[in-house]
């Protein structure tokens, strides 16, 4: 206010007092601009966004204007929230309000001359924020630089951080890892899932989808981002530059160091890992494409073959039973009742303990592993939460894997002892092939092929059912499939367990292949066990609902004679039958066997239903 105006104001005021003897009344039309007459208030304010409101719309807390005129009353702080209520509400819980005690005018610099931002809002936001947030990376990053160039798709500060609701935690992955990763994963995905926008800007439209197919993406999607890399861990928060830019963290030269932040001790070839590949793209990722195709083919062939076998077998057994019941035919045997119920040992205690451990480890692996494979389903989240988080699930998965690896190694040792009962030094190769293809061996031989052909003929009513020795061809397949499975699933699992170490052996893209193999082989194993193995051993009408022999270890002489006649005859001939006669299993063993068996069986079947639901409905 100029001195001249002051004098005028005081003169007017004194004149008024003199004339009326009263204090100021509203009847006197004094304009604020009479005193506040600078350009800023006179024209600047009139042309501002608030120009259509009067001064007292904001400066309300006057008791008396006359006191104000003689500077005895200074108006209190104004509240922008009176009009901008919703914004104020958001702002009060924002970082700038809670931690920095910013007021509206600290960003909206001159509130009296504030004008609406014409043109590009994103540029205005970037310019305003970078007045304080001045690190080069804010303005020079891929996004910031694109904003300044006028790209309307790209993210300005407020697109990620909010405008008045900037988050009240420090979005630094160094201090608030969980919040930071949740925050930027969400914000990055919000735009990068928009395919049209990505195509428009020449960016991969499916990067988010493919990221979610990787281990990082799956664990993150399950809700546990602290232990896996999110978007910003590789691409950084602000200095997000394309791969071709040498300053980019994902430039091939910087990639090893970038991966090494979380994976210490890696070989440079670790960086050949594909962070979000499309394994269906045979041109860009031929190794992954072929791996996926091979695994898909393996699953298809295995299930088409065994499910057909299963259905044909079930039909034949069921139909034969029906005919026998209809005609009143009862099966006969050459034994007296007492002889028939004599128990014959089929599995040793070691076999049984091994199978129990196998079941436990197998379910352990399935329960802790499949939620990762089907991470976006509601059941996956529920299981992982029940296990106490993805890190716990991973821990249990590894424990179960160790049990399985232990069993596998012990089985290898037993195979060796079977092939060379007195050790290789004493025994040499003598008798090796006889044992390998003999009746006690699980190695497939010509007899199995003949039995298979006979079985198929029997399915179609063209012959009698074959009789089996100690091991049937499907039992041999079950056993040998574990060998293949262990190499595929175990090898890939160990690789994924120690990716840093693995990088010293093979390049990073092998981790991608390992992920595909581990995942698909797991599906093959689980579905095979829960459908084919369960059918062959438990659900076939002659054994339905369950055969507990793997837990009790023995069966009746009559059963041995009926289903494995050549084996019965061999044991009789070799005089071994008497040695295999054992007592009837105790009631305790039977109850435990039945409970454990049923629990496993029904759990497996339930899991199959969940998988089927997932395939068709999730």
């Amino acid at each position: 206010m100029t001195d001249k105006n002051w004098i005028t104001a005081i003169f007017l005021f004194l004149l008024f007092l003199f004339l009326s003897g009263n204090a100021y009344t509203a009847s006197l039309k004094v304009q604020c601009s009479d005193c506040h007459d600078s350009e800023r208030f006179k024209t600047g304010f009139k042309n501002s966004v608030h120009g259509n409101t009067g001064c007292t719309s904001c400066h309300k807390s006057f008791e008396s204007l006359d006191k104000h005129i003689i500077l005895k009353e200074i108006p209190g702080l104004i509240s922008c929230g009176t009009c901008h209520g919703e914004i104020e509400k958001q702002y009060r819980s924002s970082f700038h309000s809670l931690y920095e005690d910013f007021k509206c005018h600290d960003c909206h610099y001159d509130i009296h001359t504030l004008k609406p931002e014409k043109g590009n809002f994103k540029i205005a936001v970037t310019k305003n924020c970078t007045k304080c947030h001045t690190n080069d990376e804010y303005a020079l990053s891929g996004h910031g630089a694109a904003v300044i160039k006028g790209n309307k798709d790209t993210a300005t500060c407020s697109d990620c951080h909010g405008l008045h609701d900037t988050k009240a935690y420090h979005t630094s992955s160094e201090t608030n890892l969980l919040e930071a990763r949740e925050f930027y994963n969400k914000t990055c995905k919000a735009c990068h899932s928009n395919k049209e926008m990505m195509v428009r800007n020449n960016i991969s439209p499916n990067a988010v989808k493919y990221y979610e197919e990787t281990y990082h993406g799956k664990v993150q999607d399950l809700g546990y981002p602290t232990s896996v890399a999110g978007c910003a861990d590789c691409h950084t928060n602000h200095n997000i530059l394309p791969k071709s830019n040498p300053a980019s963290t994902i430039h091939p030269r910087n990639l090893t160091q970038n991966c090494g932040k979380c994976h210490p001790g890696i070989h440079p070839r670790f960086a050949e890992y594909k962070a979000h590949p499309d394994y269906r793209d045979k041109d860009r990722y031929p190794q992954l494409y072929v791996s996926f195709l091979l695994m898909a083919g393996l699953l298809l062939v295995t299930f088409v073959f065994f499910w057909t076998h299963m259905l044909l077998w079930w039909r034949k057994v069921y139909w034969e039973r029906h005919v026998m019941e209809e005609l009143g035919i009862k099966l006969e045997n050459p034994f007296t009742h007492k002889e028939g119920i004599q128990r014959i040992r089929r599995f040793s205690v070691t076999d049984r303990v091994m199978h129990v451990l196998l079941i436990i480890s197998f379910f352990g692996l399935v329960i802790t592993g499949f939620p990762l494979k089907y991470h976006s389903t509601p059941w996956a989240g529920a299981i992982i939460r029940a296990l106490g988080g993805a890190h716990n699930a991973g821990f249990y998965h590894r424990i179960a894997a160790l049990i399985l690896i232990g069993l596998f190694l012990y089985t290898l040792w037993r195979c060796f002892r079977f092939a060379f009962p007195k050790g290789f030094r004493k025994e040499g190769w003598r008798g090796f092939f006889a044992r390998l293809f003999g009746p006690d061996s699980l190695m497939p031989n010509a007899q199995d092929w003949r039995q298979f052909k006979a079985m198929v003929k029997w399915f179609f009513g063209k012959g009698k059912p074959p009789t089996f020795g100690r091991w049937t061809y499907w039992e041999k397949f079950d056993f040998l499939a574990v060998f293949w499975g262990m190499i595929a699933i175990g090898g890939s699992g160990v690789t994924l367990w120690a990716p840093e170490l693995a990088s010293h052996v093979y390049p990073g893209w092998v981790l991608n292949i390992a992920s595909i193999v581990h995942s698909e082989e797991a599906l093959l194993a689980a579905l095979f066990i829960f459908t084919v193995h369960f059918f062959n051993t438990h659900l076939i009408p002659s054994k339905f609902p369950m055969d507990t022999i793997i837990f009790t270890g023995s069966y009746n002489l009559e059963e041995l004679w009926r289903f494995r006649t050549p084996e019965y005859e061999r044991l009789l001939k070799e005089g071994k039958l008497n040695d295999l006669k054992v007592k009837h299993p105790s009631i305790t063993l039977k109850i435990v066997a039945s409970m454990f068996g049923h629990a496993s069986l029904w759990m497996g079947l339930l899991f199959t239903l969940i998988l089927l639901w997932t395939f068709f409905f999730a």
């Binding site: 702080l77 009060r92 819980s93 309000s97 809670l98 931690y99 920095e100 005690d101 910013f102 007021k103 600290d106 007045k131 304080c132 947030h133 001045t134 690190n135 080069d136 009240a168």
Partner: protein, 209 residues
Amino acid sequence: MVISLMEVKNAAVIDTMSYLECMDHRIPGSHCIALEELDKRLPASFPNKSQPVIFYCESDRCPRAGLAYEKAKLLGYENIYVLEDGLVAWKRVGYEVETIQRVKRAPVISIKSAKLEVLIEEKKDLFILDIRPEDAYKASHIDGAKNIPFYMLHKRLNEIPKNAPVIVIDENGKRSFLACCYLINNGVKDVTRLFGGMESMGHKEKKKG
């Protein structure tokens, strides 16, 4: 709890931040006694050791109120409280804060630790202002840095050159902004702050002394 202690038991609510921060924003009716001055000023202002005292900090990440608790305990105060999560908690519930003398906010350039070396190299007359408490400064500091703790800044303003470039360094980057604004408002022309403060420096560039 704070309000009932203030009203019923005449508790003294004490802002342990610097004078400038406290005058800028504080719980209404609270007293500005910086942690560093607590030993002298607390007994002088509140001689009755049985009077409840409530200490608070700027935020939930500040240890000053907890340290003030320890000091007050040694001074013999009997009823000591610490406002959990500090002023931020107060604001979160929706309570107002009081401003006695606001430090007008100004745009402040910040640089990350990696660029500090470049800045030191480029600007030969760079004035490195370390606003951390004396003991933190003594434990380790950047070579050539001058220590004027934040609670003394308003008293020792004349020690800061107005025409030379100044970089302000605090503990973790949370306090230097306001200090910079204060310097700008008082005529210091070229003011920068170190993003992340001393914590972002690691150990290699610090100097014991």
